[in-house]
Symmetry: D2
């Protein structure tokens, strides 16, 4: 890290910073410019780095402390230079081929699931999705079928052969879901639920980690680092829109951070245009945009009857629209040298 001293810093105050660095086992070099004195600190114990930076910044006449290294290691591109695809069932993420996850927002009943699963499989999806535990903004809204919903997802897998992913919201659900599902999903509201991240880090099933709706790219990768440092490197990042001042769309899909994350990490990065836009008519253009920008896959909400959906109807595609989209996705994927 770099410590910038205020112009009025005395020699004693500079020496105080150096003494602190010394105590903590850092080397240092001092650079005396015309308007500022800057102290570079060399070497650090990962576990103390941030606390030391904070402590130094409370000392008199320290103007600011600038970190030099990225605050994540295991998920960084530097550590593991050749990305290894993460698999959910037979679907691989971050190979040449794109993989498409599709299905309804919430598990409602057997019939709905089967219809949805058959339709998305036929159109080319290779992973099914459906929520049994649902995070709802209102306590009075449909809260999901819970364990019963998981069982319906298992039945649907048996009937169609499609592996499935489903969300965990609570540490008490992890064991059950890890046993029955093919992949676990951490929703946007839980990206910084660190206890939950640690729990899914202890299982071996792949984890889809959605970006928090107000999380910076760095915080997202740090959340992935939590999972990785608990032992599970089967992580798929999922960009799903961030909160901005714009109100015409539910959230603002941030494809440039998706592209950035693919450069910064060896993990696969997929995109969920359904939650990002909140409007079915914007899902196809954003899905194609994601593929053109290099996404390793898509997660799309499909419901046999959006006008009767218990949640997220407005952003769900009908099977027919999804089929048409998949044809377009195939063409755009080929245009950028990928396949479906």
């Amino acid at each position: 890290m770099i410590i910038v001293m205020a112009p009025a810093a005395t020699e004693d105050q500079i020496q105080e910073v150096i003494a602190r660095l010394d105590q903590r086992g850092y080397g240092h070099h001092v650079s005396r410019g015309v308007e500022r004195i800057v102290i570079g600190a060399i070497g650090a114990h990962e576990s103390e780095k941030e606390a030391v930076a904070e402590q130094l910044s409370t000392l008199p006449m320290v103007e600011r402390v600038v970190p030099i290294l990225r605050p994540y290691k295991l998920v960084s591109h530097e550590v593991d230079r050749t990305p290894v695809p993460v698999r959910i069932g037979d679907a691989a993420f971050r190979g040449n081929e794109l993989s498409i996850i599709a299905g309804p927002c919430a598990v409602e009943n057997r019939e709905q699931l089967l219809q949805a699963a058959k339709a998305v499989k036929e159109a080319g999806a290779t992973v099914f999705r459906g929520g049994a535990f649902k995070p709802r903004t209102s306590p009075y809204s449909f809260q999901g079928l819970g364990e019963e919903g998981i069982d319906l997802l298992v039945e649907t897998r048996e009937a169609t052969g499609l592996p499935f992913v489903t969300e965990v919201m609570d540490v008490r659900q992890v064991e059950l879901v890890a046993e029955k599902a093919d992949g676990l999903q951490i929703g946007t509201r839980n990206m910084a639920n660190f206890d939950l991240l640690k729990e899914v880090g202890k299982v071996s099933k792949p984890v889809i980690l959605k970006r928090g709706l107000a999380a910076t790219g760095q915080e997202w990768l740090r959340a992935a680092e939590y999972i990785a440092s608990s032992g599970n490197l089967n992580i798929i990042l999922c960009e799903r829109g961030i909160r901005t001042f714009e109100t015409e769309t539910r959230n603002t899909l941030d494809l440039s951070i998706m592209a950035w994350a693919r450069q910064e990490t060896h993990l696969p990065v997929i995109v969920d245009p359904s939650h990002a836009t909140g409007q079915h008519q914007l899902v196809p253009p954003m899905a194609l945009a994601a593929v053109a920008a290099g996404a390793d896959g898509l997660m799309i909400e499909v419901h046999p009857h959006p006008d009767r959906a218990l949640s997220d109807g407005p952003q769900s595609l009908t099977p027919k629209k999804f089929k048409r989209l998949m044809e377009d996705v195939r063409r755009v994927a080929e245009a950028v040298g990928r396949s479906l």
Copy 2:
């Protein structure tokens, strides 16, 4: 709710909307303006309202659906017109008197806690704070002392007489903390952790609910509604800064939403200027601003030695600075007709 039809809507499409309303037990009235046809829906079952609105908005030529009612009930000012103060120990929140919560970010050791507690009590704080379970952005940072930290807080209470509040991050911690602490705190990252909200809704101890760092005022009150609808009305709202584009301060303290929340709900609303600003020199002006704007209390980080703190040193006040601030708080409180 109000359903606005697109200009090109046919009579059949309008009738389709009306038929749906009928099926769900809503009355309706149609208003035919020059450029738009607008359908008003009357009456609704709370538990279905949002799903119905979503479903209607997927019908052809429905331009948008505008809700009319506020999406919370139990915490709304309409329901309970005279706010009843919430108490933590002897400290009352939302009476004429302000109550001040103070203490270090994290529980580090017995000595630190005692020093901090004695200092803040002497200066006039009536509730102590300290984190035993810590949400840290990096998995490599100090994660808190856990259960041992709770025991140290209990000891500190015995030594000083100050009741204490502490954060719960995980449903598995609720029972323990509810038994030992005088109040539970839900941190900003867990404001939309609905399973956790339901659990703290089942205990009787007061809950301090921090606003999510990207939560709208409405979402904040809906989170409170989760706790209330699970049975616990002892809720204290806490504004602690929101995420904006500004980077000079850690977050942006949103005092106008604090004032709005006091009008919109019967719950007490307090302010945490420490997390909002991230810089000790901005804590006093923002604390005074909060009091002048009508806050029912403050939550302030105080550490005996900020330059050795294991977390949040830069935003912690020393006991001396805290004492001076409390004198100023007293004067501003009196200027707006409150007392300390």
Copy 3:
């Protein structure tokens, strides 16, 4: 508009609202629900609508006033159902063919311009860009060559045959630029500079209107309405990234609003991935994403020597990288049924 009364509203207060509507020539209908009384207002003079809504909302017990109509007319899709392409030189925007605008951020000298123009033309761009009047955050940075820069752009057009667009920042520049350039550009900082919008509304040359970096989609279309209502309908909208909390990218490219704007208006909408991302390595993926999402064109910064550029070097493509990008753009355009 719809006027929602507070629950405590008396009959007199309701009649007061109705009397006001009457005075202003509005019809009304009252809908008495269980929890709220809602008054619909019918008919309005465009020029008074917003003032009336504001005035009504100040009356006692008016909870809120909800507008029903979109606040723009001339640029709305409703008015002119078949989009007519806007032309800059021979390049058409919002036809089947995409048009690409490219060139350096700032006009630096004759040599730089010629090199850039030849390179972008050869790669397939059909409009040249370059700034003579430069909005710079610091008063000490290079402020552009001004009128001399315009003359260099004219020379470059003579040498290459490429039409050019350039920014106007000040009402005093409009006449000169409108006379010499093939198109005028309104930068992101001036999107709500209404006097400037009115001036460019009086000329007949096409205007590229960049979205303000914190402007909502609606405000953007209202800014276009300013130009249109002054007489100039040759408007090309340009999405160039919005300001969010994310700091890894300079701005956040908002492609979903681009897609929304193409549905909402009959105007062409193009995308500038260079300013949005601020990093040359993110320009190609975002350019391809824009095309896949349906953009009518791109505006891209190309500099013969980004490492010597007087502004925006980090986001400029070299001619070689631009050429490669254009090949990819062609393929993605074809994949979505467009051509280059």
Copy 4:
């Protein structure tokens, strides 16, 4: 500035950076850490600093370039350590005494102005405000009385003795307004209208510079630097709310940046709670908060009849409410050691 090299940087690439620094007249020192090589650059010509930083960041294996110095000089606290109050008429800003600017949003007619001016003077305001040139989001809204409005403001000053400030939106208005008004105001939409900033920098009358609604604190001070570097140091900064995701309030009043700006610069900083909140009932708490946090003054909208106002009625105080607020302001000012 500090240049951080990527881990894979070769010795040649490091030497290339050093050679560039040399050419531009910078000294350098290289610090070789375990994971990164960092190059410190010493000394710089103000006018080239940002361009050089940009150019260096385009070189191969340069990870990032970190600036060390603040990007403003004349307005910085470092340059002029004792703030000198700025005066509008007899009202001083940034002395011990607070000064209050009040009046209607827009100049509507003689009667309205006189009523408003007499009322605010009686309540204790020492500067009058009113807009003759109005920036309106819709081209169909009332656009202000223009020059005639300025004349009415002059008449009102003659009748009441109150000096007045009014907004300039267009470089063509500066001469007239500077001649007739006691202070010029740059509105939030024009904070980065650099040509306008340069023009008001050439006059000697004080300038109130509102923060752009999406401007960082640093950009705000850089805008002030534009005015200062053109020759006018009579600048008053005005915080008026920023754009965030919150929609319950029109904008989010950012008092912590107000407090920050008072530490960072020697300029006075005032607060406009009317535009920030957009709701008259939130104006008093936010006005008091601003004073408690150390603001040097307030700017408040007062209209004799908000329910007939041609703009901003919902956020205007009646004379009666303003009078009551001023009494509270006086008490809070005294509580923090200031006077009115």
